[in-house]
Symmetry: C2
Subunit: 290 residues, 2 copies
């Protein structure tokens, strides 16, 4: 059983409540309600790896309450603060929090962060330019002028290993920490399947042609709101032609090399991606025979 | 090898051209350029199942040319007509065209239609409300006021069969042609994986709890721009509790019943989805042992 980071959330998303403004209004004033503790986009994480929650009464009057879901009848919310957008970069405190959150807790955080980031950047109707208002318990925005309804965006991204004769291709971007390599990745575009996006992205970034793409796993990625779709593809040859706008370097690594990297051994050929990234899951799955 | 509808396109998306306005300008005046023949959103399909193309000189002066890609050095475009949005419903002529297009041709059409529909509905900056302008050879819109860049949206949708003791669950919406049943489906949301979205959607729509989700295939769906992700999940029991807002009916069907439906036999328990829909691919794969 593969369990990537940011999966395993336990909240019931309570779709019927989103379609019932009265039910949502009742939940907003439910004294049992809980509010996700956030400083900008950094959650409070307790010693047991669980998220911190405040009473719903702690929410500022100007905040918009978005319903994350229900558990045992208790509503869980996150507060969106109009005009105070989340930071684009991950702070050291957030990186530390991600390292310590339990996976299921990280899933709840991921939903909250993606939702907040979407509201930050989607206050106006893309169809007519009018300011929009929140509906569906926080899971949509509607336009009173043209009637358009807008829903949170999720951008599918393919992330993949090309493999050839027992080695896989990993690359690095110039902006990454020194020594880190990871799976190649890129946004899937209109008019292509997952398998086609995998082949196009590997070819564009590394010049390596692949065939026979197999799906491995998926995860949500809340920076700001991607669906990461992890695959392995069979390469036809190993010659690399880098796209320098995308990658600073790309290398072929043996199973032993990948294992050493995941184990963070001193002689490893690269530093691995963080454990909550599906690239880590994917490399682990490949080492284990996926 | 599973080959869903709308896959197998042969155009090179020419990503470097999108980042090079001069190269794009040169392609726009290349006398070899080809323009997709469309009446509203219905393509011209020749007797051999191929799309019809006009010389690029046929493009109206007011149209915006979007680069679909290159093949053998020849640029292929589709014209977007600002202020003349595509129809929401599929016309009988379009349905007929979809039935006759070769898959690879349908892939080119899918990219074109999704791109046009996105421009239709995204003329304004969602971040600040200002009218935006096209860049990246048609694959983006940028805002001159706030600097935001916007890219075509692709909405991941899970579409799936629950299976239990040799039968699968198919459902129908009230608006569908009489007798048609298909795989259940729904939009994936921020903060969930493919596998989690599959389980949530089946539970919401039919009351059936599932585990062990396996990925089968994917396809783009250009009405307006979904990524359809087809899966099979193992149900724990067969009792159905319909969500009447989503489904009119849902039934469990044996392998022989699904085969009869796909073969359009007179005694079949339901009429199948069209062959270019991945639901058809998924049912076929399941019958064949996927």
């Amino acid at each position: 059983m593969i369990a990537p980071g940011f999966t395993g959330g336990t909240l019931d998303r309570a779709d019927p409540v989103r379609h019932d403004p009265q039910a949502f209004a009742a939940l907003r004033t439910d004294g049992r309600g809980r509010l996700l503790k956030l400083t900008l986009d950094t959650p409070e994480v307790n010693d047991d790896g669980r998220l911190g929650w405040a009473p719903i009464s702690a929410a500022p009057a100007k905040a918009e309450l978005l319903l994350l879901g229900l558990e045992a009848g208790v509503p869980y919310f996150v507060a969106w603060h109009p005009g105070e957008p989340l930071p684009m970069a991950r702070s050291p405190a957030l990186v530390a929090a991600l390292d310590t959150m339990q996976p299921g807790e990280a899933a709840t955080y991921a939903a909250a962060r993606s939702l907040l980031a979407w509201h930050d950047r989607h206050g106006y109707c893309a169809n007519c330019g009018t300011p929009t208002t929140i509906f569906r318990a926080g899971w949509g925005r509607s336009c009173s002028k043209c009637g358009a309804e807008h829903f949170p965006r999720v951008d599918p991204v393919v992330i993949m290993l090309a493999e050839h004769r027992g080695r896989v291709l990993v690359g690095r971007q110039a902006s990454w920490p020194a020594g880190r390599y990871s799976a190649l990745a890129g946004f899937l575009e209109p008019g292509e399947s997952i398998e086609e996006a995998v082949a196009r992205e590997i070819l564009e970034e590394s010049g390596v042609a692949v065939a026979r793409v197999r799906y491995v796993a998926s995860q949500p990625w809340p920076f700001p709101s991607q669906l990461m779709i992890a695959c392995i593809a069979e390469a036809e040859r190993e010659a690399i032609t880098l796209d320098p706008n995308e990658l600073e370097d790309a290398i072929w690594v043996s199973r032993a090399g990948v294992r050493a990297a995941l184990d963070r051994l001193p002689n490893a050929p690269f530093l691995p991606p963080p454990s909550y990234a599906i690239a880590h899951t994917l490399l682990t799955a490949w080492v284990d025979g996926a």
